[in-house]
Amino acid sequence: MSTLAAPKPTKPWAARPKDRVRDGLLLLTALFASYGFVALTPMKGKLAYFATFFFFYALFTSGYQFYSRGSASAKDAAVNSIVLIGAALTILPIGSILWTVIQKGAPGISFGLFTNDMALATPTDPLSSGGLLHAITGTITLIILSLIMSVPIGILTALYLTEIKGSLTRPIRFLVQAMSGVPSIVAGLFILSAVLYPITKGYSGFMGALALTILMIPTIARTSEEVLNLIPNELREAGTALGGTQWRTVTMIVLPAARSGLTTAVILGVARIAGETAPILLLTGGGDRVNPNAFSGPIGSLPYYIWKSFNAGSPEAITRAWAGLLVLLALILLLFTCARFLSARKIAR
């Protein structure tokens, strides 16, 4: 009787210590080479280090691969480095933007910022006077108003695309796509020409909200469509088999099942418009005091506040603009985290 010795599982493809040491050495050599190259030639600056380092790293790794495994492997190693450069170039601006906003905005953040408005202050005043209460309340007003208008339309559009699937499905999907490409300034001009000039004849938060609605509908419609497509068809069939009309099936089964996904869609829509500037500049008038009435009188908002402070130009005003950007960015990141959390929970279930 021979007993079969169970073979010990191994991972022949995993990196051995020798490989790790070799990779580390190649990296170090590339670092030294780039340092030496920059020191010896008239090139200077972070960019030069960055570029020469990647160049030498690509050169050394592919050279080594060519020596040990031939040209196909060398090409693979070179592409490896190039792909890394691409990823680094995508991440660098994000890192730079986040870092700059936090670094330059933090000095402008104080408690008074959230309790005062700019009614008695100008952007060039010292930072202790004035604040962005009017901007925050204004932005919230604009968001709520545009939510009231865009959520029903967006979700109805998504329902048409997923539940009714009429003969117009293809053209409507195309139009929603086209609508998401409408420049924000065109949406602003449209409200200006269609509502503000002929009917209301004055700046108000409602005008801004109308333009934001146009920009928000496609985001909500497309994300909701994706979510509703994920709802299993069995649920709809079960609803119909129990004698439910389509209306009852959709409202009592499909929509509740997609609730968290639809919330994600709405949050993404809000994140899309929270920092929209161009239509706000055309339509809201940008008041400096808290204006609770969204239907008459100019209303402030975060983008308008940032724009006004940035254009005032003095160091205090620029700090104000960065602080406003920090608040706006924090709002958008918060919304995104909520959306992530909700959609993650849906998948986990």
Binding site: L47, S73, K75, D76, V79, N80, V83, L84, G86, A87, L89, T90, I91, I94, S96, I97, T100, P152, I155, L156, T157, L159, Y160, I164, I172, F174, Q177, A178, M179, G181, V182, P183, S184, I185, V186, F190, S193, A194, I214, I217, P218, T245, Q246, W247, R248, V250, R272, G275, T277, A278, L281, P303, I306, W307, F310, I318, A321, W322, L325, L329
Partner: protein, 329 residues
């Protein structure tokens, strides 16, 4: 015993019909109405902008898109004495900066999409995808101010380098020697704005590359790059081009980010490093503040041109992306 045969009770057959109930009819009507809203909104935009700008377009005629000067003279009472509205400099500037943006953004986004799909470890992939999604939602004013205060000095330096070594090519020549606020700077800022868009479109297309072919390529001994070249790129080529067109449409319609970093000059300029450019959307913001009612109509006409332009670009992008499903099979 007489058998009492009970009277057979046959219930009347229930009427079965596939006709929708009244509630369903109402429901379908409401949902269809909601679905048609996008058509209504797009149609209304075209109608109202066309209606407002009709007067200016009729007066300027075809020269509205072929002339470059933008001037209006009014007397003290506010009556228009003389006006010339031409959009060609702005159109050239819009196309130039959007084109620069796509040329820079396309390779970077394709490489980072490849990195996300085939190179990054799983934890890094998830983190980077959410980071890039957040970046796609950054407000344009953030890109504008960051671009003006942080990025522009470096980009001017790069522009000088390009001019120094490649200045003999007409497109890179600079005369007079002004580098700040050029279409190139605007193009770089726009490129950073559209990289997340093109990256996420390309990433989704690459992720759909058939797994059996990927594994077949590996089984035949392909390296990672050989596999990408043989399977992924042929599969995703047209989808990536569609993504680039989407980015182009976004770059053409961008307002605030371009306005902060571009020096608007009413003169057609093809030299991308020279500090004089144009942009239709920025023109509207620039002139809106002090515009007379007649000039507003001209701005509406500019908005109409921009609307049609972006609609065209998006339609082409949509067609290209739609046709990807069939390619590479």
């Amino acid at each position: 015993m007489s058998a009492i045969t009970p009277e057979k009770v046959v219930p009347a057959p229930r009427e079965i019909s596939t006709k929708p109930r009244r509630s369903d009819k109402v429901f379908r009507a409401i949902v269809t109405g909601g679905g048609l809203s996008s058509l209504a909104i797009l149609g209304l935009i075209a109608i109202f902008l066309g209606y407002r700008s009709f007067e200016v377009l009729r007066q300027e005629g075809f020269s509205f898109i072929t002339q470059a000067d933008w001037s209006i003279t009014t007397d003290d009472a506010g009556n228009v004495i003389e006006s010339h509205f031409g959009l060609s400099a702005m159109l050239v500037g819009t196309i130039l900066s959007a084109f620069i943006a796509v040329v820079i953004a396309l390779p970077v986004s394709v490489l980072s999409a490849l990195f996300l799909n085939f190179y990054a470890p799983n934890w890094l992939k998830k983190f980077l995808i959410s980071l890039i999604d957040v970046m796609a939602a950054f407000p344009s004013i953030l890109f504008g101010i960051w671009g003006f205060l942080v990025l522009m000095p470096s980009v001017e330096y790069w522009a000088k380098l390009i001019n120094h070594y490649l200045g003999f090519i007409p497109a890179f020549s600079v005369n007079p020697y002004i580098f700040s606020r050029s279409p190139f700077v605007a193009g770089v800022v726009l490129a950073i704005m559209i990289i997340p868009i093109i990256t996420s479109v390309s990433r989704e297309i690459f992720a759909q590359a058939p797994l059996d072919r990927i594994q077949a390529a590996y089984a035949l001994g392909a390296t990672r790059w050989a596999m990408i070249k043989a399977v992924v790129i042929p599969h995703g080529r047209s989808g990536v081009i569609g993504g680039a067109m989407l980015g182009l449409g976004r770059a053409m319609g961008e307002t605030i980010a371009v306005f902060t970093v571009l020096n608007i000059v009413f003169q057609v300029n093809w030299h991308m490093l020279l500090g004089a450019g144009g942009n239709v959307a920025s023109l509207i913001i620039l002139k809106f503040g002090e515009a007379s009612p007649y000039e507003i109509k001209a701005l509406m006409a500019a908005g109409l041109v921009l609307f049609v332009l972006t609609l065209l670009v998006n339609a082409i992008a949509d067609l290209i992306v739609k046709s990807t499903g069939k390619s590479g099979r």
